[in-house]
Every structure is written in C-alpha cells, then in structure tokens.
C-alpha cells in the first residue's frame, strides 16, 4: 500500500475506507513530530499536538482540494496547531513570532552544546533546536521534509523573500558558530 500517492489514499478514505488513514499517519507522523518538538520545545506537548493535528486533518479531508499537495496542507495544520498551543501557553508569543527579526544569537547555548558533541554534524543538529522557532522550522521544512521555498512560504504564511531571509539567517548563525570553533579548518 506504500506505493499509493497521498491523493489515492485520500480518495480511498473518502470512499469510506477509514483504516487507510493509518497510511497517511505512518507517512507523516515522524516529520510532523520533528516540527512540533522543535516548535513547542517539549516532547509531551508535541505528542498531544501531533494527535490533534491528525484528527483535524481527518476531519478536514472532506474539504481537501485535490489540486493542492496533501503534505503542504497537513504541515500548515501542524504549524497552526503549534502556534495555537504556543499562544495559549503565552510563551513569549509576540517576541517569538511577530516578526522575522528574531534573535539569532546562539552564543548563550554554544559552550554547553559544543562541550557535549563529538562532531560537527551533532553540533549543528543540536544547535538547530536552539534557533528561534521560525528559523528552526524553516530548516526542518527545507532539509528534513524537502519542501520547496514556495511550499514553506505557503505553510508558514510568509512571503517567499522572508522565507529565504529566515533560511539564510539560520544558516549564517550556525556558520558563525562553526567559524568560532574552527570546524572548517578541521574538516576541509
């Protein structure tokens, strides 16, 4: 059944095969969980939100337009669900989400993480968790989920230019840390 496209699975569900929804869950649960964990910075919240996202997606399938991509549509649900949770928890929502001019200074976390990682890949991966929410999210959507810049812009409701700015800033702040620790000399 894994060879079925998202749209074929959705059509099957719409014909009444409810159990086929498990195929979509299996296909997207890890990616969505990666997104949620980095946005909510809490595994328990991420798990709860993940279930909520799939229930919302199931209930919304009747209105899903087949000319759009299920992945983009589902990630948008995931993103908005995480935003609602953040808003309800009042986790410095305004500071974190109101503009793309977020604080990209990772210096505060750097010494601790540098001391506990064995190689550059580990170091970069751990530092991604410390990026501002939207910076980390753009990285996850671009590198982990393989979304195009246009799709990321649709998921996050940002302009294409802003998505690019966020991606570049996130990479630059990680690059600065690498330069600080002379990783580029070690590897190349």
């Amino acid at each position: 059944m894994n060879h079925l496209t998202d749209i074929e699975i959705i059509e099957s569900i719409q014909r009444g095969n409810q159990s086929d929804f498990s195929l979509l869950i299996d296909r997207y649960k890890n990616k969505a969980f990666s997104m949620l964990r980095r946005m909510l910075k809490n595994e328990m919240d991420a798990e709860e939100a993940l279930q909520d996202c799939f229930l919302k997606a199931y209930n919304g399938l009747k209105d899903f337009r087949k000319d759009s991509k299920y992945s983009t549509w589902f990630y948008k649900i995931t993103y908005n669900t995480a935003l609602s949770i953040l808003a309800s928890k009042k986790r410095m929502m305004e500071q974190e989400m109101s503009s793309i001019d977020e604080e990209f200074d990772l210096g505060a976390y750097d010494p601790e993480i540098y001391g506990t990682t064995e190689n550059v890949n580990q170091f970069v991966t751990k530092m991604v968790d410390k990026l501002p929410i939207r910076g980390a999210l753009v990285i996850i959507l671009f590198y982990l989920d393989g979304l195009s810049m246009n799709d990321i812009s649709a998921v996050m409701g940002l302009s294409l230019v802003n998505v690019k700015v966020l991606l570049h800033r996130s990479r630059n702040s990680l690059r600065d840390l690498l330069l600080k620790h002379n990783y580029q000399e070690e590897i190349l």
Partner: protein
C-alpha cells in the same frame, strides 16, 4: 544580512544568476569569503544529515482507535441548494392540491363516480379560470418571470456564497 552573505547562501542553494556568479567568483579571491563559504557548506551538509524524531510508539493505532471510538465518518458536503429547491417545489404542489380539493364540493348524495369526476373537473376549471386569465396577461407574465428569475438567482448566489464562506472557514488549517 549583508550582500556577501546573501550571495554565498544563494550560491549554496544554486540560485545565482550569471552576473551574480561572476560577482561570487570575484568575492572568492578573498580568504575571509572562502572561509565563510567553506563553513556555510559544512552547515548545509550537516543539515542534510538531520534525522527525523520518532513519533511515540503505537501512535498510529492510538489515533485510529480515537477515530473509531468517535465513529468519525467523513461527511460528504451536501447540495443544500438543490434540496431547498426540491422542498419549495413539493410544498407548492401540495398547497395547490390542497387548495383545489378544498374547492370541491363533496356531495355524498351525488350519484355515481362519473358525476363526481365531472364535478371535480368543472370545479377545477372554474377555480383555475381567473388564475389562467390573470397569467395570460403579457405584462404579468413578463414581470412574474423576471421576478422569479431574479429570486432564483438571488437565492442561488446567496446559498453559494454562504457555502463558499463556510468552506473557507472550515478549511482554515488548525480550525
């Protein structure tokens, strides 16, 4: 973010235009820029090795159980406009029939079915005659038809507008 950083990032993403490519080639004559590009490339390569977080064990079955417990079935969107028109049509027919039968003088002493049928036809003809005469008037027909058309179109657009709005609200992700 400065211009050099932007160009180097575009270079990493393979998004440079030919004139920008020449610009980058010029920039790479300086050691600092080469160092920056190397570091940026390491970041890019490291990010490509990012691994997914694993969703909790038995997550899929948990969600499927929740769905089954709620016996959530996907409701197909109904065509409310067609249903409304059908209801209005049948109610109108019913009202006309009730009116017509109320005009029939059912006389139990009348002899035979034929008499009753004749009486019924006569009564219907008599009661319909003023109505037919009225609707035979050309201007009444014209205004009546126009009015009905406008009414139907208005109702159609109102219902469609409402449906589109409802669909938009419901399709808002996270709602």
């Amino acid at each position: 973010m400065n211009k050099i950083d932007e160009l180097l990032n575009k270079y990493i993403d393979g998004e440079l235009q030919s004139d920008e490519l020449e610009e980058v080639q010029q920039l790479l004559k300086y050691d600092d820029n080469v160092k920056n590009l190397k570091a940026l490339r390491i970041v890019d390569n490291s990010l490509r090795t990012l691994e997914e977080d694993l969703a909790p064990v038995n997550f899929t079955s948990k969600v499927m159980k929740t769905l089954s417990a709620g016996s959530t079935k996907i409701k197909l969107s109904k065509n409310y406009f067609a249903s409304t028109i059908n209801i209005v049509f049948f109610v109108s027919i019913l009202v006309i029939l009730v009116y017509m039968f109320s005009q029939i003088n059912l006389n139990p002493s009348a002899s035979g079915i034929n008499t009753k049928v004749n009486d019924t036809v006569n009564t219907i003809s008599k009661s319909m005659l003023p109505l037919l005469t009225f609707f035979n008037n050309k201007s009444v027909m014209f205004f009546g038809s126009s009015f009905c058309l406008i009414l139907l179109l208005g109702a159609y657009y109102m219902v469609e507008g409402h449906k589109t709005f409802k669909r938009r609200i419901e399709s808002l992700p996270g709602k």
